[in-house]
C-alpha cells in the first residue's frame, strides 16, 4: 500500500499501460516490436494482480504468486516467440508482419 495513493489512481495507471500495449500491438509492423507490446500488456495485468492484492487483501499472497506465474509464462512465451521469429528470419529473411500474411483469403 502506497501512502497517499488510492486504488483508482493505480488502476488508471495499469489501464493506460494496458491500452498503450494494445495500441502497440495493433500498429507495430515488426514481429519483435509486437512482442514488446505484448510484454507491456502482460506487465499491466501482472501489476494489477499485485496492486489489487496489496490494496484489497494485504494478508494474502495470491496476487504475488499469480504475478510470478505470469512472469514465468511471459518468459516462456517470449522464448518460444523469439525462436519462431529467428526461424522465420532464416526462412524468409524478414520479420515484418506483412511478410507473414500467407494465410490471406
Amino acid at each position: 500500500m502506497i501512502a497517499g495513493i488510492n486504488i483508482y489512481e493505480i488502476l488508471t495507471l495499469t489501464s493506460i499501460l494496458f491500452f498503450i500495449g494494445l495500441y502497440g500491438f495493433f500498429t507495430r509492423e515488426n514481429l519483435i516490436t509486437v512482442l514488446l507490446s505484448i510484454e507491456l500488456i502482460l506487465n499491466a495485468s501482472a501489476l494489477n494482480f499485485v496492486l489489487i492484492n496489496t490494496y484489497l487483501y494485504p494478508d494474502l499472497l495470491q496476487g504475488a504468486i499469480f504475478t510470478i506465474f505470469i512472469i514465468a509464462l511471459a518468459a516462456a512465451e517470449t522464448a518460444l516467440a523469439i525462436a519462431i521469429i529467428i526461424n522465420l528470419y532464416k526462412l524468409i529473411y524478414s520479420v515484418e508482419v506483412k511478410d507473414t500474411e500467407t494465410m490471406k483469403y
Binding site: 500498429t27 506483412k98 500474411e101 494465410m103 483469403y105
Partner: protein
Amino acid sequence: MDFSYTILIPLIPLALFVILGIFSKKIPPSISGWIGSLGLGTSFVLSWYTAYSYFLGGKLNGVYQTFIYKTTWLNFTDKLHIDMGVLIDPISVMMLVVVSTISFMVHLYSRGYMKGDDGYTRFFSYLALFSFSMFGLVLATNLFQMYIFWELVGASSYLLIGYYYTKPSAVAAGKKAFIVTRFADLGFLIGILLISYYSGTFDFQEINSLHGSIITNWAATSFMGLSVITWGLILIYLGAAGKSAMMPFHIWLPDAMEGPTPVSALIHAATMVVAGVYLVARLFPVYYFVENGFALQIVAYVGAISSLVAAIIAITQTDIKRVLAFSTMSQIGYMMLALGVSKYDGHEGLGYMASMFHLFTHAMFKALLFLGAGSVIHIVHSNYLKDMGNLRKHMPITHITFLIASLSIAGFPGFAGFFSKDEILAAAYENNMLIYVSSVLVAGLTAFYIFRLYFGIFWGKDNTYEHTPHESPWSMTIPMLFLAFMSIAGGYIPFSDYISADSIPFKSHLNLPLAAIATSIGFIGIILAYVFYKKENNLPERFANSFGVFYKWTYHKFYFDEIYLFVTKKILFGIVGFSAAWFDKHIVDGTMVGIGNTTVAISEKIKGWQSGKFQDYAMSFVGGGVVIAMVVFYIWIN
C-alpha cells in the same frame, strides 16, 4: 419327451458356415466338401431321429403335442420381447426332415458337381449358411424369429443365385430375386406388425390359440370392408407369395436358375420356395377362422391361378431349368390351393394334410428332377433342350431316376406324386369345383411338359456332343438314387396319421374316381408328349403355329417381366421419378445452390477483411469486445 437337442440342427450348419467362411482360403476343396457333407449329415441324422421319436411318441391323448424351447433374446419391455427358440410340432418336424434330407443330398451331390470350381469352399459355406437359416425358419417359435430367418434365407439365396458373380446375368438375377422378395417381405413385415399389435404377441402358439375369442374382437376394427387382421393376414401372405413365387411375384424364380443347379434343387425347388406354404400352414388356424377364411380364399385362388399359368408357360420354355422352375411354381400353387380349400377339423382338414404331403413328396421328386437336370447339364454344358437328346444310353442312372421323378410329378399311379396329388384334388373337389377343374387341367399340363422334357432330353434327336456323354460320378448319382427311392416310397407314408390341421390324426383314403380322372388326364399328357417329342418331327411347330398369338404369349411368359419393366421404367421412373427429380433439382437443389451462391457472393465482398494480418483480427476482436461491453454497460445503467 425332450427335443431341446434339436437346437443343434441349425447350429451345426452355422458353425460350418463360420469355419468355412473364415478359412475359405485356407481349407482345400477336398476337405471342405467333406466337412460340409459331414456336418449336414449330422443334421440329417438328428432330423430323422427327431421325426422318428416325435411321430412315434409325441402324442398325448391322440393329439400331437407342441414342444417349445425358447429364451428371451431381446427384452424391450415386459410385453414387448423377442424370443429365440425351437418349436417342435408335426409340420416343423416334417420340414426338418425335408430340409435336412434335401440339403444333405445336395451337399453330397455338390461335391461332384462343383468339383474344380474356384469358389468351392465359399459355395459350401453359403450352403451351410442357407441350411442354418432354413432350419431356423422352420423351427421358429414366433413371427419375429421367423422373419429374421426369412430374411437370412433370402440373403443366402441372393448369395447363391449370384454365386457366379463374374456373370452379369447371375448378378442381375440375384438382385432381381432379392428386390422382388424384399418388396414382398415389406408386406410380411407390416403384416407382422399389424397382427402383433392387435394380438399383443409374436408367438405362434399364442396367436393360433387366440383364434376363438379374440378374432371376433379383431374383426371389429375394419378397413375397406375387411377387418384389420384380415389385412394383416393378406399382407403376410404377400410375403409368403414373394418367397414362394406366387403369381405377381413369381418373376424372380426363373431367373434364379442362374445359380448352380444344386442350389436350384435345394433352394428354388425343395425348401426355400415352400417357406411361404409353411408360413401359411403355420398360421393356418388364424387364416381359417378370421372372417370365415377370406384371406384363405385369396390364398386358394392365387395358388390356383399361379399353378395354371405356370403350367402353361412351362410347356413352351426351352431352358430345362426354367421348365423345372415353372413346374416348381405350378406345384407350389398346388400346395397353396390345397391349403386354401382346406378346413380345420378332422377329415375336413384334408387340404392341409394334402398340402403338407405334397410339399414333402414334391421336395423329393423336384429336387431329384433338378439334380438330374444338373447331371445332364454337367455333361452337356448347356441348359437348352435343343442341345440335348438321346442321352438315355449314355447316362442310364440319370435316365432312370429322371424317369421316376417325372412319373412321380405326373401323378403316375404308384409313385409318390400320385398319392399327394390325389389328396389335393380330393380336397379341391370337396370344396371348390372351379379350383378342382383348374387343378385337373394343371395335372394334365404337368404330365405333358415334364414328359416333353424327359423325351427331349433322353430320346428325340441324336445330338452331336463336344465329347462323348458319360454317366455322372457316384458322388452325384448316389443322392439321385436315394431321392428316386424317396420319390416312390414317399407316397406310402400315411401322412394323415401324422399331420393334420388340428394335430389330431385321422384316416384318409384314396378317392378312386378322382384318382382315375386325374390319372387319365395325366396319361393323355404323357401320350401327347410321346407323340410330339419321342422322335424328332415337326408336330410341335405345327401345333405351336396353330395356337399363334397364344403360343407367343406363353413363350414370353405372358409378358410378366415386360409389364414389370413398363410399370417400373415408364410409370415409376418416368412419371413419378421425373417429377420428383424435377422437384429435387429445381426446388431442393435450387435452394441449396442459392444458399451457396449467396454465400459466395457475400464472401467475395467481405473476403478482404481476412487480410492475413493477425493484428487486424485482434483489432476486430477488441472492437467487438468494446462494443459488447458498451452494450452491456448501457443495459446495466438503464
